[in-house]
């Protein structure tokens, strides 16, 4: 498996997203330009220019026409994927962290960081069909959790919003009323900051990665802990194969400790686990900094990883990957 190295960002990667067809790959990084790539050969299509701060995450609509990005410049922006033009900008008073389109792409959930005196918040915005009709008004605003909310996504049928962040608790909110419905158990839950959260293809379960060196698999509806995957490193990114029962976990030690240790010690590997048996199957090395972002192609035949080193590595699986038996 020879990876394709995609060098287009000048700063550490923060997020990766495939479109539904799996032919396009969007990457976000701490430089200000989200970039669009061909998911097959890694050719760069273009960048989305307009942000003035690190871009933390993005989501693409089902028809691959719109892109939403959340950035530290205190805005979340809507883009026309085809032209690269900015359609609209939601402006906040604190950095925007996580963005996610709902089923049907009519709503988007955006989280903002705690900043100055402001607490962290989850905003729900209505996305107009016609960009000229777009307004910045929030449909719903949820406040409450302490610390940064690193990720918020839609639950099944847009009835719930699932959030997780620095306080290590995973919460499910009612997306109509903003009421807290469920909270993950202190005992079985994560012990440290939840850094990442990825939904399964059908949205029935999701995987969270945490600095407590583990990743956990939860049922989306009942918030039951189903599996735990334990690694040796803080987890920064997680992804689930849509094809096989595999999960990928990426991470590494803190960026501040990277320079003082051997690259072998860092273990900046994307680790593959058997989803059901919770056993490690293998690892993909290559990055020379912690892995910050992971994404699976919706066809399950390739995945990409983005690192603190500023590279996106695109891996197409060899035939023998599909024959792994343990």
């Amino acid at each position: 498996m020879r990876p394709i190295l995609m060098k287009g960002h000048e700063r550490p990667l923060s997020f990766l997203k495939y479109n539904r067809d799996g032919d396009l790959l969007f990457s976000c990084a701490k430089d200000h330009n989200p970039t669009l790539w061909f998911a097959d050969n890694g050719e760069r299509l273009g960048t989305f220019r307009g942000h003035n701060g690190a871009v933390w995450s993005c989501d693409v609509s089902r028809d691959s026409a719109r892109l939403i990005t959340g950035s530290a410049d205190q805005s979340a922006k809507l883009w026309n994927v085809q032209t690269g033009h900015q359609l609209y900008s939601f402006n906040f008073d604190s950095p925007a962290r996580s963005v996610d389109f709902s089923v049907g792409d009519k709503l988007a959930v955006i989280t903002t960081d705690p900043f100055m005196e402001l607490p962290s918040a989850i905003h729900v915005k209505r996305i107009a069909n016609d960009p000229t009709q777009q307004i910045g008004e929030s449909v719903l605003l949820i406040k409450g959790p302490q610390g940064r909310i690193n990720r918020a996504i839609w639950g099944p049928l847009n009835t719930t919003i699932i959030s997780a962040g620095e306080d290590a608790v995973i919460r499910i909110w009612d997306s109509e009323t903003g009421k807290l419905l469920k909270e993950s158990d202190k005992e079985s839950g994560h012990k440290k900051t939840v850094t990442s959260l990825a939904k399964s293809a059908d949205g029935s379960h999701f995987l969270t990665g945490s600095l407590d060196k583990s990743a956990r698999l939860w049922d989306t509806r009942s918030l039951t802990l189903i599996k735990t995957y334990v690694t040796e490193r803080p987890v920064n990114a997680v992804a689930m194969s849509p094809l096989l029962d595999h999960v990928v976990i990426g991470g590494g030690q803190d960026a501040s400790a990277v320079t003082t240790t051997d690259h072998r010690a860092g273990k900046f590997e994307a680790k593959f686990f058997d989803k059901i048996l919770q056993e490690e199957i293998g690892g993909v090395k290559g990055h020379f900094g912690p892995i910050n972002a992971l994404a699976f192609n919706p066809d399950g035949k390739s995945f990409s990883s983005g690192g603190e080193d500023g590279y996106v590595r695109l891996h197409h699986f060899d035939a023998d990957y599909f024959a792994i038996k343990i």
Binding site: L157, D202, D219, I276, L277
Partner: protein, 718 residues
Amino acid sequence: MADVMVMKEIEDTALRLGVDISTLDLDSIRLPPGENYGIVSDDEEVYLEDNLEFESGFGNIIVVDNLPVVPKEKFEKLEGVVRKIYSQIGVIKEDGLWMPVDPETDKTLGYCFIEYNTPQEAELAKEKTHGYKLDRAHIFCVSMFDDFDRFMKVPNEWAPPETKPYAPGENLQHWLTDPKARDQFVIRAGSDTEVLWNDARHLKPDPVYKRAYWTESFVQWSPLGTYLATVHRQGAAVWGGSTSFNRLMRYAHPQVKLIDFSPGEKYLVTYSSHEPSNPRDANRVVINIFDVRTGKVMRDFKGSADDFAVGGAGGVTGVSWPVFKWSGGRDDKYFARMGKNILSVYETETFSLVDKKSLKVENIMDFCWSPTDPIIALFVPEMGGGNQPARVSLIQVPSKEELRQKNLFSVSDCKMYWQSNGDYLAVNVERYTKTKKSTYTGFELFRIKERDIPIEVLELENKNDKIIAFAWEPKGHRFVVIHGDNPKPDVSIYSMRTGQNSRVSKLTTLKGKQANALFWSPAGRYIVLAGLKGFNGQLEFYNVDELETMATAEHFMATDIEWDPTGRYVATAVTSVHEMENGFNIWSFNGKHLYRILKDHFFQFLWRPRPPSFLSSEKEEEIAKNLKKYSKKYEAEDQDVSLLLSEQEREKRRMLKEDWDKWVNDWKRMHEEESLYRQKLRDGEASDEEEEYEAKDIEVEEVIHVSKEVLHLEYGQE
């Protein structure tokens, strides 16, 4: 059950009083101070335990008697004298000196009280000035204030001591009777200390006992594995037992820093060092020797740190532990310590010096006991600018007779290594070259058990090589040296016994190894060459009998390596000196990786030692000869276990799979139930099945350009 009963009682009472107990926040109730209504606090036990350590609070007061009785005019003068004497030793508290005066005669009563800041100072003052001669008639008699109380309480009538009924103790060697012949080890990670079985067959450790905050600094096994010692602020304690770990004995020694067992684990030496009140003084050192079983102090040594600093002519500062070195063997008969120009050998029968005097050895630098016999090897460096040669001598105890001596010239440094049976002594001598600019190394090899103790000289082929590590084969006749100057040193293996002639000879040299430490298997024959620190944890498992490498491996960043006491397994650990990778690996003797446990803040890994085997050497040989017969049984057991394991594994996987399938089915069902709603959310766009869209080849014909051209036929050609 008890809790339920109590709860029920409370509920009944509440009902009687008409209180709704469910609205009551029990935690908000505060008992009046000093009253507990008979409710025992959860930490009562701890509290009581701690209480034992407290004294009455007068521990820092001393009483000085036999002072001159003086009239009022001289009172101030006498007080000045006394204050001068006692403030040299420690800081006397404000108003801490009180000399009572007889109200009738206006004369002093001939005694005074002095209060220091700390009990340590008081004790020191008592030690130093008891018997101090102020003049001929006034010899100070100093006592601790607390002692008065204590001695006043002594009953006048002698009462025979109560004989306690004999309570049979637990079998402290129970762990040796493990039917699977496994070994135990202790690990310390974070605040937890855990004792585990090494269950190599199941490729995992099997927990025995776990306790948080078991020790305040470290734990240590006794040399025969009977006890586990823990170290606390108040002293040390030993733990043991057949099934779990109970506290067997406590040894009070405030602020104990270091402990050391005698090789037969009869005695425990504890050490503490205290900051002096006067910063110019050296630290005060207290060393106690306890009897392990009774907990009695057999002998204590107190003094300034300088007295315990070793290294002949000085230069070396600080105390090198252990201060007391014990003679070999299990009977713990002698122990010795080195002082300036003397070597003091004590015997444990009376805990006094052998022959009541120390051995005078000018400039003694280093000494060590033979591991089996009461023989001391000591090293004295050159003196008088090289006029008197350096020497290594062997001294028999208790006769103090010199058995053998070897003079050495232009020595810069010298290290002594005993073979574990006490058969051989290797002395690694570093000598200056003629220019005195560099050094070269050689070995002096003593054959202790042969007549007249012959000495052989061994020099490395390249004399400039530095010795990086040296190790004797346990119970064997071979030794391995890592030597070299370059980053990849060589490893040489020598034997003291080859063929007919008993001369030392080299077996082989392995060139350019990434190794800087040697670890022989306790059973001999196998050795692990390890590259620790700079080499990042390279491991090589080497068979010395066959002179071949069995396996090479790496435990990245490994800091510690230890063989289990039987020589079957090797543990490599990364302790908290590194921030990352903390935990340990267990390997088989031939370098097969068995399992790996990761623990953050990993401090210690220690195998529980085993006492030496009771089998005679003939019996051992017989077993070795018929090994096939015995091993069959164990091989069968191994097979059973591995079958069982794979069976269990399969079962476990099947269960997991079933569980998972249940989830997946639920999800599928829900997903389908919701598919209509989803479709609605997507404005009627076909929702789920479309995910498996088909790729169709569609041929599209596009007319790009149509042009007409009239061709003129030439009739003529037809």
